[in-house]
């Protein structure tokens, strides 16, 4: 059993030359005055390119909020978010939108797919929105890896939860985005399907150098990652490299979760 490497909370992260995404002094406040909730109270974090990172923390600690801000889905109340050389916090809504479809991939916990489109159409949708055609060889490779060949003409309601998540992953990978964000992608799945989905994310990082950031509650899921970032009360509460289910569980206990 390896000793977890903990960093001191509040200390700025070591500058990462090849950071795909990073945040500096990121804050997000809901409401104002007495009832203000500081979902993010000054977060400094960086995610290296070609790395699989898990974000963990107690419920309400700000994981989803952090991910939304990093992905340009939500606006921050303060601080900066950088995607490579682009500062997201300076972009207008339209610029953010076009950036999302070209450079960011998403996998959500539920409601990932448009019910009126079949699997193939769902997968190519972001590229279609960007007015691009998917590279057929790459499309075939992704489909083959995710085992979706037989399912391409099916509509979402004809797919199992695991299959739906695999379609979502295919969609996220197809455009070869700078980073793929996944918010509890296995939250609705049984352990076998969950393991399958995590294995696929893992292999996309290993084999194609895809950057993946995943929010999860599950220490086993987190153990698939290269690194675990811990959040508590809207602040960074430490991180683990090369996590296992046990080290993650220990670290979470340390946070009182």
């Amino acid at each position: 059993m390896s000793v977890p490497v903990m960093t001191v909370p509040g200390e700025p992260p070591a500058p990462v030359a090849s950071a795909a995404v990073r945040a500096a002094g990121l804050r997000k406040t809901y409401g104002s005055g007495e009832t203000a909730v500081h979902a993010l109270a000054g977060v400094d974090v960086a995610f290296a390119a070609g790395e699989f990172t898990a974000i963990m923390g107690p419920s309400g600690s700000g994981k989803s909020t952090l991910m939304h801000c990093l992905a340009g889905l939500d606006t921050a109340s303060g601080g900066e978010v950088w995607l490579g050389d682009t500062e997201l916090t300076r972009l207008r809504d339209d610029q953010l939108t076009t950036l999302r479809r070209r450079r960011i991939g998403f996998v959500f916990q539920a409601f990932n797919l448009l019910p009126v489109l079949d699997a193939r159409e769902n997968i190519v949708l972001p590229m279609q929105l960007a007015g691009q055609r998917p590279d057929p060889a790459w499309f075939d490779a992704v489909i083959a890896r995710l085992g979706l060949r037989e399912r391409l003409e099916h509509r979402p309601h004809e797919l199992s939860g695991g299959q739906q998540q695999r379609v979502a992953i295919a969609r996220a990978l197809l455009a070869r985005p700078d980073v793929v964000f996944a918010d509890e992608p296995t939250g609705n799945l049984d352990s076998r399907s969950g393991a399958e989905v995590l294995g696929l994310l893992r292999s996309s990082v290993k084999e194609t150098g895809q950057t993946v950031v995943m929010v999860t509650h599950d220490p086993v899921a987190a153990s698939y990652a290269d690194r675990v970032v811990l959040l508590a009360d809207g602040r960074l509460a430490g991180e683990l490299t090369d996590p296992t289910a046990e080290t993650v569980l220990d670290a979470l206990r340390g946070l009182g979760a």
Binding site: D74, D94, T97, L117, L129, R155
Partner: protein, 822 residues
């Protein structure tokens, strides 16, 4: 469940506002129709039946005079007063105006309750030597008129009479025809009234009108005598004037039925969308233990509450709307919508129709709601679109209604009966609405392929959205389809009605102005003189002479030149003009001489003779031969009439032209009588225009309902697609593209609905006009292409407009919020 119901009503107030609005407008529509119907009915009645509506009974005779019956009626205990309607006519000289004019003279009742005349100035006459005149006479209070009366021998008697008042004949289509005078009973008789054909009777205090009617009917009997209640008589007169009142009633009947059907369809539609949108909520209720029955009751309870409250608002709105239309139309028109007539039944009907239709319309959706499996609440994505039993049932039901309905409609056109055509139309329309659910999606898909090619990704997505959720598309499209179908049905129907009516009026009143001599001795130069009068286009002389008929007895024959006379008439449909060698014989004369069409008909005069061929006509015409033939028989025939055709101009200019003709004629021949038929035609035209205006106004309401339906459905589907739209935004759809997506969808659906609606509606309009007007006369069908094209454009743009607010709302949704709502 009551707590759930109340909570539903509270939390979904916003959604209910939309459906409430639909009910309010639909009920308002029905009530406004009924109220305007009543108002126009009472206005027409008041206008042409003013003298009758407030009387208890009216006795009229078409044969024996009633002179001897007055005392008998007056002595009945239930009778309060009797007005004997003596009538005559005189020639009058108005100071400051050249020549004399024809005045129809009527009696002013002694009893105040039987005086119906409305004065714009002065008072009614009280003694002989006084008279009140209509505005057409162009005299003023205080003028002293010289009145000439002629006895049977043509001997003239002159008298003076002072104008005491000016009578307003507002709304009477005959008011512009000639001047009218109102004098005391004694005066009418002094001026030559000899026979009495009408008695108007008021009830004695304490007696009911029904009592009077019964007593009078018992007291006055005779083969040609008719006793009617005042209202009946007024309706009878109105019918006589407008030619046939059933046409009017039919139009309004069609309209009322249509209003109710539309209301039901729109409400059903709204509820279906409303409940479809709450599927998950209802399923959750089932999950936590509500029985299917409880869910159904909760839904129906909601419908009942919504229906009643919004019906009440709708009734008020409808009466308000009718009031507004009445004021707008009422100000300056020949038959004004005077005030508002709101019988209690209109209010009750509004409440009942609104509540009942809402509950009935909610029945099917409520049943569907109870079929929702509790599991639906837990399903993460939308269930598969329905293409099972209900769809098939709808198809079968739709065909079962559309096919026989269309057959009935066609039958209605063939036999020209609105009572056959109307149920056929309603049935087939309901069938088409059901079938539209099936037919619209494929058409939208085809149009979507086209749109996707020009509109980029949002258009492609919109086409996909519109075709991949056929139920939603069909529901949205049907609302507009209904509105557009009705609009175009009425536009096309109205155009045909208008064309038919114009043709009918031209045939009924072919000449603009007729100048008649007292005997056949008009100056021979008159046609030429009149031809020089401003605005007179053409004149045609009508000659006359006494000749000897086939039976050897003298007979009075008119002579015209068919070419000249035909050119001076608006239409020769109902007038038979003789060619050389022919004689036009009316039926009564044919019977008298025992001749049939094509039989020889010899005429002789002073030893000259002509062998003519009889042309028998059903119209009421005098015996008529070719002018040249008449000259052969009687070398110096008299000039009996001059037919005058005027320029097409506005009604005021034509009245002025008739006045000029009157003046010129009076200078040439004092005793001649000028009848300005053109003014009567104008007045009737104006009445038709107002009717069409009223119908069009009501129709605008139907279109507004349809548009609210479109906006409603789109707004609901935006709520429904919150997650979808959020996901699209997350995946890179810009706000503008999202708005574009909804706009394209609206244009696609609205465009398809309006094109289909115009085609179907046009067919209904033609069929409706054919079956309604068939009862009245010859039909002239007319399709106003420009207006029809405008409907398509306006409806499509309106659909686009209806998408603006929902689209803005959809675009405002932050992508995160949409995802979080999962």
């Amino acid at each position: 469940m009551r707590t759930v119901l109340l909570a539903q009503l509270r939390t979904h107030a916003a959604r209910l506002i939309a459906s409430t609005l639909a009910v309010v407008i639909a009920v308002g529509f029905v009530v406004a129709t009924l109220v305007l119907n009543e108002t126009s009915r009472s206005t027409v009645l008041n206008a042409v039946g003013a003298r009758y509506v407030d009387t208890a009974a009216v006795v009229s005779s078409s044969g024996e005079p009633l002179t001897g019956d007055v005392d008998a009626v007056e002595s009945l205990p239930s009778v309060g007063a009797v007005a004997a309607a003596w009538e005559t006519s005189v020639q009058a000289d108005v100071p400051g105006r050249t020549g004399s004019q024809y005045l129809a003279v009527e009696t002013v009742a002694d009893a105040p309750e039987l005086r119906w005349q409305q004065l714009s100035d002065g008072r009614l006459p009280e003694r002989t030597g006084e008279l009140a005149v209509s505005e057409r006479a162009r005299a003023e209070v205080g003028d002293v008129l010289t009145i000439s009366t002629y006895d049977a021998e043509g001997e003239v008697t002159e008298a003076q009479a002072t104008v005491t008042g000016i009578v307003r004949l507002e709304g009477d289509p005959e008011a512009g025809l000639y001047g009218r005078a109102f004098v005391t009973e004694q005066q009418v008789r002094d001026w030559g009234a000899t026979d009495l054909y009408e008695l108007r009777i008021a009830a004695a205090p304490g007696s009911s009108d029904a009592q009077v009617l019964a007593d009078v009917a018992a007291a006055v009997t005779g083969p040609d005598v008719v006793v009617r209640s005042g209202v009946e008589q007024a309706e009878h007169e109105a019918a006589m004037l407008t030619g046939d009142s059933t046409a009017l009633t039919s139009v309004l009947l069609v309209f009322g039925t249509v209003a109710v059907v539309v209301a039901g369809l729109v409400i059903a539609n709204t509820f279906a969308v409303l409940l479809a949108q709450r599927t998950r909520e209802l399923a959750l209720l089932r999950c936590v233990g509500a029985t299917a029955k409880q869910v159904r009751r909760s839904v129906l309870g909601e419908a009942l509450a919504t229906g009643f409250v919004s019906s009440a608002v709708g009734v008020a709105a409808g009466i308000g709307l009718a009031g507004l239309i009445s004021t707008l139309v009422g100000s300056d028109s020949a038959i004004p919508l005077a005030g508002l007539t709101v019988p209690a039944y209109t209010v009750l009907a509004g409440l009942l129709v609104g509540t009942l239709v809402t509950v009935l319309a909610a029945l099917a959706p409520a049943r569907a709601a109870t079929r929702v499996a509790p599991l639906a609440a837990l399903r993460p994505v939308d269930p598969a679109p329905l293409r099972s039993r209900p769809g098939l049932l709808r198809l079968v039901l739709g065909l079962l209604m559309a096919v026989p309905g269309t057959a009935l409609l066609v039958l209605g056109v063939v036999v020209q009966s609105v009572y056959v055509g109307l149920p056929g139309g309603v049935l087939s329309f309901l069938g088409i609405v059901l079938l539209a659910q099936r037919a619209v999606p494929p058409v939208v898909a085809a149009a979507g392929g086209l749109v996707a090619r020009i509109g980029g990704v949002p258009a492609r997505l919109a086409a996909g959205n519109a075709t991949r959720n056929p139920r939603r598309t069909a529901a949205t499209a049907t609302a507009l389809l209904i509105g557009v179908t009705l609009t175009s049905a009425f536009v096309v129907g109205a155009a045909s009605t208008r064309a038919t009516a114009t043709a009918g009026l031209d045939a009924e009143f072919p000449t603009d102005v007729v100048v008649q001599g007292f005997s056949d001795d008009l100056p021979a130069s008159l046609p030429a003189t009149l031809g020089d009068v401003d605005q007179v286009v053409r004149t045609a002389p009508v000659l006359a002479a006494d000749v000897t008929g086939p039976d050897g007895e003298p007979v009075y024959v008119h002579g015209v030149d068919a070419g000249t006379a035909g050119a001076a008439m608006r239409s020769t449909d109902k007038v038979l003009l003789p060619g050389p060698g022919q004689v036009v014989v009316p039926e009564w004369a044919a019977e008298y001489y025992s001749v049939r069409d094509g039989d020889p008909f010899p005429l002789t005069a002073d030893g000259r003779s002509l062998d003519l061929v009889a042309q028998v006509t059903g119209e009421n015409q005098p015996l008529m031969v070719d002018a040249a033939d008449l000259r052969t028989l009687a070398p110096e025939p008299g000039l009996a009439e001059v037919w005058v055709m005027l320029d097409d101009a506005d009604p005021d200019a034509q009245v002025a032209a008739v006045d000029r003709v009157t003046d010129v004629v009076a200078e040439a021949d004092e005793t001649a009588r000028v009848t300005g038929i053109v003014t009567m035609r104008d007045e009737i035209n104006e009445v038709l225009d107002i009717l069409l205006l009223v119908v069009t106004g009501l129709l605008a309401v139907a279109v507004v309902i349809a548009l609210i339906g479109v906006g409603n459905t789109l707004a609901l589907s935006v709520v429904e697609r919150r997650q979808e739209n959020g996901l699209l935004r997350a995946l890179g759809l810009t706000r503008g593209q999202l708005r574009g997506l909804l706009a394209w969808e609206a244009v696609l659906v609205a465009g398809v609905a309006s094109v289909l609606g115009v085609v179907v509606g046009g067919a209904y309009g033609l069929a409706g006009a054919a079956s309604v007007l068939g009862e009245v006369g010859d039909i002239v069908l007319d399709v106003p292409w420009l207006q029809v094209a405008a409907i398509v454009v306006v409806a499509t743009l309106a659909g686009l407009l209806a998408s603006v607010l929902p689209a803005r709302r959809a675009a405002r949704t932050a992508p995160v919020a949409a995802i979080a709502a999962a």
